[in-house]
Symmetry: C2
Subunit: 343 residues, 2 copies
Amino acid sequence: MPVTMAQVAKLAGVSKPVVSKVLHGGGGNTRVGEETRRRVLEAVRQTGYRPSASARAMAQRRSRQVGVLVPNNPGNRFTHPLAYETILGVNEGLQAAGYVVALARIDDVRRDLADQSRVFKEHVLDGMIVLDSMPADVERRLEELIGTVVWCDSNVWREHGCLRRDEREAGRLAGQAAADLGYRRITMMTYAPPHRVHFSALERYEGVRGAVTAAGLELHEALEPGIGEAAARRELVRTLRPDAVIVCNSIYQAHAVRDIANEAGRVPGRDFGLISCDDMHQLDRMWPGLTRVTFDRYQMGVEAAALMRCVLDRGRRACPSVRLPCRLVAGDTARRQPRSAGR
Amino acid sequence: MPVTMAQVAKLAGVSKPVVSKVLHGGGGNTRVGEETRRRVLEAVRQTGYRPSASARAMAQRRSRQVGVLVPNNPGNRFTHPLAYETILGVNEGLQAAGYVVALARIDDVRRDLADQSRVFKEHVLDGMIVLDSMPADVERRLEELIGTVVWCDSNVWREHGCLRRDEREAGRLAGQAAADLGYRRITMMTYAPPHRVHFSALERYEGVRGAVTAAGLELHEALEPGIGEAAARRELVRTLRPDAVIVCNSIYQAHAVRDIANEAGRVPGRDFGLISCDDMHQLDRMWPGLTRVTFDRYQMGVEAAALMRCVLDRGRRACPSVRLPCRLVAGDTARRQPRSAGR
DNA sequence: CTGAAAGCGCTTACAG
DNA sequence: CTGAAAGCGCTTACAG
């Protein structure tokens, strides 16, 4: 049997409210005699008392628990691994404020109420941070189930309570770099669109295109070849030339392109240019030289946590949405091209 | 104000215990009249009632909440990204059994009680799944704070309640492959040891060495060059020959080696052999051709969840530790070598 | 099969 | 500055 507050109170020779005040100062009348406080803390120490979160939650009618909803498409149980960086940032930002972070996955929301996760079926969360985009019906459902939602890196974008990287700027930086370095042929890798396109793909594309056409160049497009698509892979290899640069949407795409190139004995930076609109942690070890737009996803998580606290403490209206900046990292997979015509 | 069980009971014209029984059947005397049950469910539907997790937790003295502890070394806030795969598996396995998964990070345990995370400071968890190894003092502390701990992919290994990949076998498979393919010079990449070496590094090394020496070959070793270490990188490149193979410990290391090679215009599979003892999700997109030992980390999470449920339901003694298998994926970064001497 | 009562361990007004 | 009481929303024996 764990130690209870009543036991601590008894040992300290005070009442429960006093113990409660000593442990969770703040609120209006926090004043407790110096001597009393000492006795209470000593009793806590002696007994090894640890409060019961559920009792507190019940009395206060708030769990001090925030959920993080991660995407989990049926058919791909492990979508969007980069979300983990953000999750850890969220954890840092929330736990520092006394919140516990609970994990939830998108499938949970879609199932019928009967076999839903407790995160949705019961009242467990004070709020939910949604990472990445969700199907529209899920988004609607969420706001009913959980009062307080913060949308992070999601297609949902409103005046308040949302958070995003400036994806258009990411695209612009990548496109600008391609043009500035003097590449003649700029190709952006695109995806075959899934059910619903993530806003970042559109924004990045617009950003790249804007910068490239502003430089008076044409933007080519190419679909990322699948693993088994030998013909498409060969086709891609054919476009790889020293004065051609591939602009990738994601880091996975960049890896895939390097792999396809390597397979044909080609190396980025030497045989063709390669720029990624996105980044990932550990890249400094895996591929430090990749020319890319970098962005601190962990920090995004920390900011999402701050936004959630704002919404929880001061209401949604008080918390304007945030757009986070990004910057270019010059690497060696895209290099300055020799001037073509006489200077 | 959320709907309460009392309101549901009133609307259905029954008492609270009846509602409780209808909603959470099981236990001894679950029998409720068919008509009564119908009325209750109808009332639940009409009111949109959702139980309060904390009230239930308090009455039952269990939170139905399990923590996942992830490593988070000071100085590297984002250690071990692969853990995310396991976390999602844990989530799947536990939420299906009605548990909520909470995240915790190692730093939380080390700090003084005063500013610890609530996950440790209060009673919030029924149990904790530890992913990866923790400093020894943390491990000791954990068992005091949380009664029920499951060790997953950790240096802690006992008769009961632990879970690991068979790392020795992973090394053996990699070493065996290197030898079988006919490479003359086999080099294993090692790390400069950190504070405390993860068991997998030792086991993999032993596995590789066993297989290589059994084949009558010598196992060379090399330290993974850091990013700035130009001399070491050149040195590594010098050892790259068509009849030489590099065996990497981790997937990050494999990427790093490929990067160093590419920098010098070398390509794995053509100019030298490359085998990884480890794998990661999304590799099928990033680097499908890498010859490697594969292992389903997500599944490990699912199994860790099962182990936790076992420990929670039937006690530690009833749950023997588990060692998970792995297998080789033949890729194209390591190829069969031409026979040297006459056949 | 169903209901009334007690209790889980806290916090929050409310008196002193 | 401190204590006694009521209440948070459930579940668990215990009677009927």
